[in-house]
């Protein structure tokens, strides 16, 4: 039986002029008189509520509603109508949300850092400073061995300062990983053989390796020296002639700035030697790191000749002659250098298990170029990939990346109680849809059922959207609560009714910003906040239409910007299916649509809702 819902009115900017009693009456709930409460709607976000109220409501089903952010501007009647729909929707959810919230068990606090070099040491240092027991598994015999692209001195210094709570496992590699934040299980291969250990979080920072450059250019290896191995003292011209040196700084394809800068340093050192003429070959002069533009100028002032070539335009003949076309002079130039300095890019090989292990997402999904996953984060909660393997520039950027990743790890493992998807075992068909769907790796198939990692969940609700049996959902995001909320809101919304499902990272912040600036939403619009657009489903959208909505808009992030990697894509695909269904039924498929949006695209959202309203008016 649904619970009786009380409206607990908390004044907030943007709510002035609204009569709480009127709102409660219009939404069909009781206004709180300080008495017993079964379930409640509060008119401010939980963070903004006074502590006393939070204590009073502890353990009860509560919808914390940022009411001001949803009602927007307009006349009093308009604002009352919108407040009523929003409260009704929240009440529907609170009434159904009678399952006690499920909170995670204590996540494991210990941390595995697998790798070597500056990034790995920085991560170990930072994690230990935050009080986590750390295991540093390095493939080398000691912690002070740097990666090929690290500054050995900085690495040595950091290794010497490693705190006592860092346990060093030498000649040890990570060979397999399962689980998610708070509950990883790692397989390690050390001198004593294979072992399996549990960790709360895992940092993967394999040491960088320089890609040898000679093969790329077909140059005789005897002519070639790696920039990092170059001793300028070895080179000087004969008494009466010039010695020609070629420095290859991203001459086949443009180098990243940090390796271009390394090439410049080598070129400058050589150019200062007696009678050495340095030619610097590059496709783009990459000077986007501090000091590089000055260094580039210093090189030229010292006599280094800048030779810009087209990608693939530098030819090697007979293993010893470089040939390229100079567009300015309109002719081919050739050079037989006495030495060729290679400043090629560094990288780290991807551990084989990352590609083989079925339980880890493919690389592009694990480490997508997603701005929300900057700072070492991956799509798998609690797994951080740092340094060379990720392509982060050596030096300070690696330290920054390690610091950001560690703070995120600490917040995830020790933050306020984390909601964890509730699994109703008797409903679960063991179809593993949730295991496949969850971008964060939270549900795992363990033994005979689904078990969830204790700290990985962000409540995106993609598992709930995918589960065919309504057996799994983050607290509050199950099908019954959501349908109840939708029904309650649409029941009191004036005609023409419309629904905006708004993603918590894009659609909802944009809607709130519009409301705060006094934007007048169509009175019949129900704004339905979601954590992630991925929580929408065919059932929700079609139910909205059944309940009289003339249009349904889902506003989610742009592709490549979803915090849950694919929630937006999943939502768009589902809406496309609904559109197909509507077309088959002879209805207007355009009644439902997906709007890719960023949180700062308020204008685009306002326009889309306006277009929706125009269509709804016509329908």
């Amino acid at each position: 039986m649904p619970a009786r819902v009380s409206l607990i009115w908390q004044e907030a900017p943007g709510l002035s002029g609204l009569d709480p009693a009127q709102v409660a009456l219009a939404a069909g709930v009781e206004l709180d008189d300080g008495g017993l409460v079964e379930a409640a709607v509060v008119t401010v976000a939980q963070e903004r509520a006074p502590r006393g109220l939070q204590e009073r409501l502890a353990g009860l089903p509560v919808s914390w509603l940022d009411l001001a952010a949803e009602i927007g501007g307009g006349g009093d009647a308009h604002r009352l109508a919108r407040a009523a729909t929003a409260v009704a929707r929240a009440a529907g959810r609170a009434a159904k949300g009678t399952l006690p919230p499920v909170y995670a068990p204590q996540p494991a606090q210990s941390v595995l850092v697998a790798g070597a070099g500056l990034g790995a040491l920085a991560a170990a240092w930072e994690a230990a400073a935050l009080g986590h027991p750390v295991t540093l598994a390095t493939p080398f015999g000691d912690a002070a061995t740097p990666g090929a692209d690290d500054d050995p001195q900085a690495v040595g210094l950091m290794a010497a300062q490693l705190p006592a709570q860092v346990e060093l496992a030498t000649e040890c590699e990570l060979i397999g990983l399962a689980g998610s934040a708070g509950g990883f299980s790692a397989r390690l291969m050390g001198p004593q053989g294979e072992s399996s250990q549990g960790f709360g979080a895992v940092f993967l920072a394999p040491p960088g390796e320089l890609a040898p450059g000679c093969e790329i250019h077909g140059l005789n290896p005897e002519l070639c020296v790696l920039a990092s191995k170059l001793d300028p003292e070895d080179w000087q011209g004969p008494e009466d002639a010039w010695l020609h040196a070629a420095v290859l700084a991203g001459s086949a394809q443009a180098a990243p700035s940090y390796s271009f800068a390394a090439a410049l340093e080598a070129a400058l050192a050589l150019a200062k030697r007696p009678r050495v003429q340095v030619s610097l070959f590059y496709t783009e002069a990459r000077v986007a790191v501090p000091g590089a533009e000055r260094l580039f100028r210093d090189c030229r002032a010292a006599g280094v000749l800048p030779m810009r070539v087209e990608p693939g335009g530098l030819e090697v003949r007979g293993g010893h002659t470089l040939a390229w076309f100079d567009p300015l002079l309109g002719e081919e130039i050739t050079l037989e250098p006495a030495v060729a300095v290679m400043a090629e890019q560094s990288g780290a090989p991807r551990p084989a298990w990352l590609d083989n292990e079925l339980t880890v997402k493919p690389w592009d999904l694990l480490v997508p170029e997603n701005p929300r996953l900057a700072g070492g984060k991956t799509s798998r909660s609690g797994l951080y990939i740092l340094g060379s393997l990720r392509g982060t520039a050596p030096g300070a950027p690696r330290r920054a990346e390690a610091a950001a990743a560690t703070a995120d790890m600490h917040a995830r493992l020790t933050g306020r109680v984390v909601p964890m998807p509730a699994v109703r075992d008797q409903l679960c068909a063991r179809c593993l849809s949730c295991v496949r769907a969850c971008p964060h790796g939270v549900p795992q198939f363990v033994g005979f059922g689904i078990a969830c990692s204790p700290a990985g969940c962000v409540a995106c609700g993609i598992c709930a959207a995918e589960c065919p049996a309504e057996a799994i959902a983050p607290p509050g995001w199950g099908q019954p609560e959501m349908l109840a909320a939708l029904e309650a809101a649409l029941a009191v919304a004036p005609e023409p009714k419309m629904v905006l499902f708004a993603c918590g990272q894009s659609g909802m912040p944009a809607a709130s910003a519009l409301s705060a600036s006094g934007h007048q939403w169509p009175a019949g619009l129900v704004i339905f906040p979601l954590v992630c657009a991925g929580r929408t489903s065919q059932v929700l959208v079609t139910r909205a239409l059944e309940l009289g909505a003339k249009g349904v808009l889902t506003a989610g992030c742009h592709p490549g910007n979803c915090r849950s990697i694919s929630g937006n894509l999943v939502a768009a695909a589902k809406l496309e299916m609904v559109q197909g269904m509507l077309a088959e039924l002879g209805l207007d498929p355009e009644a439902v649509s997906f709007l890719p949006l960023a949180s700062n695209q308020t204008r685009e959202l306002a326009q889309a809702v306006e277009a929706l309203a125009v269509k709804a008016e016509e329908a």
Binding site: A129, R286, S599, N600
Partner: protein
């Protein structure tokens, strides 16, 4: 030192993405902080940037300001004073004492935080300067005719135009658009011998937004070298080069033509060519923070050879974001994590010393 003297463990100067991110990172580490913002609302420059997604997210990071504002508002450890100016700072016994004074603010500005009510003085264990960089004023390169010839805009103005929808179908639809790179960057003669790092990225992204909205529009990109911007960027460059006309020549000037601005540049044959455009965008660079001189004096922060602030100053002073050198939004956010880590270690050491 007496820990009871501390009003706030860490004081963060500047409420842009770097400052907000530093506050959030400290909060994640369990430390409270106070953010001081000069303007009436937090957000800094990032609030002026448009979303550059076309078919997919362009990873410009402009949307992350929204994430940060929401997270900063939700974390009770973070206090945010807006419309507040630092008037003095002094260090004694390992602690900083910083005086703040209220600034006249406009009417109710949206966003978290509240205007500073009255003059106050805060004692703190660490200071993070996150005052951002200064965008180059294109008036400093008068030959590019900004403010003189209609149709010449700075990239910052283009951000606003794109955000407001001023360019696109049904609005302004220029047939030809030119971007001029390195305006106020890589300019030794102009006293700015550094690469601003972000301009190639934002210019090409905005060029793509224009091409996406107006597929008929021709975009020309005048540049010296295309800088790097991460792995995915390298993969995208070849297709960008098919979509946009790349001209590797630094234009000499922009003149007023009858139909609009004209860009004068060295043609492939060597002789100067004057070509007409409807819109000329100057990709302005990032310089050291405004008033770096006075901050330098207030806090004793050491400027580097280009005037940017060193990441780690005297005891308990840290610098985050573009104030320490040109950085993208995403990079500033990550960079603030390092300053937060250092500040947290510093405050931890102070407390340890006080106890022991």
């Amino acid at each position: 030192m007496n820990p009871a003297e501390i009003d706030t463990p860490v004081l963060i100067i500047g409420g842009g993405v770097a400052g907000l991110s530093a506050a959030v990172e400290l909060s994640r580490r369990g430390l409270a902080s106070t953010v001081v913002e000069r303007e009436a609302a937090p957000g800094g420059r990032a609030g002026e940037f448009c979303c550059k997604a076309v078919a997919a997210c362009a990873r410009c990071g402009a949307c992350r300001l929204g994430d940060l504002l929401a997270e900063a508002a939700a974390r009770p450890e973070i206090t945010l004073h807006t419309a507040a100016l630092v008037t003095s700072a002094e260090q004694k016994d390992g602690l900083w004492t910083v005086e703040l004074s209220p600034q006249p603010a406009g009417d109710d500005a949206p966003g978290p935080g509240a205007p500073l009510g009255e003059r106050c003085s805060l004692t703190t264990g660490a200071v993070i300067l996150a005052v951002g960089g200064q965008v180059f004023d294109p008036a400093g390169k008068s030959r590019f005719a900004h403010g003189r010839v209609e149709g010449v805009h700075s990239a910052l103005e283009l951000e606003a135009m794109l955000a407001m929808g001023a360019i696109g179908p049904g609005a302004m639809a220029p047939a030809k658009v030119a971007f001029i790179q390195c305006v106020g960057s890589r300019d030794a003669a102009g006293g700015r011998p550094w690469c601003s790092r972000v301009c190639c990225g934002y210019a090409l992204r905005m060029a793509r937004v224009i091409r996406h909205r107006l597929p008929e529009t021709e975009v020309t990109f005048f540049h010296m070298d295309v800088q790097d911007y991460g792995r995915a960027w390298e993969e995208e460059l070849p297709s960008l080069k098919e979509d946009i006309r790349f001209v590797r020549a630094m234009p000499g000037e922009v003149t007023a033509g009858e139909q609009g601005p004209r860009v004068v540049f060295a043609g492939p044959e060597g002789a100067p060519v004057s070509e007409g455009f409807d819109l000329v965008i100057l990709s302005v660079g990032i310089g050291p923070p405004n008033g770096a001189g006075s901050l330098h004096e207030l806090f004793g922060a050491a400027p580097d050879q280009d005037g940017f602030l060193a990441e780690e100053g005297p005891d308990g002073l840290f610098v985050a974001g573009a104030a320490a050198g040109p950085r993208s939004l995403n990079e500033s956010i990550t960079h603030a994590g390092l300053a937060a880590s250092r500040a947290a270690a510093r405050v931890g050491a102070l407390l340890e010393a006080a106890r022991g």
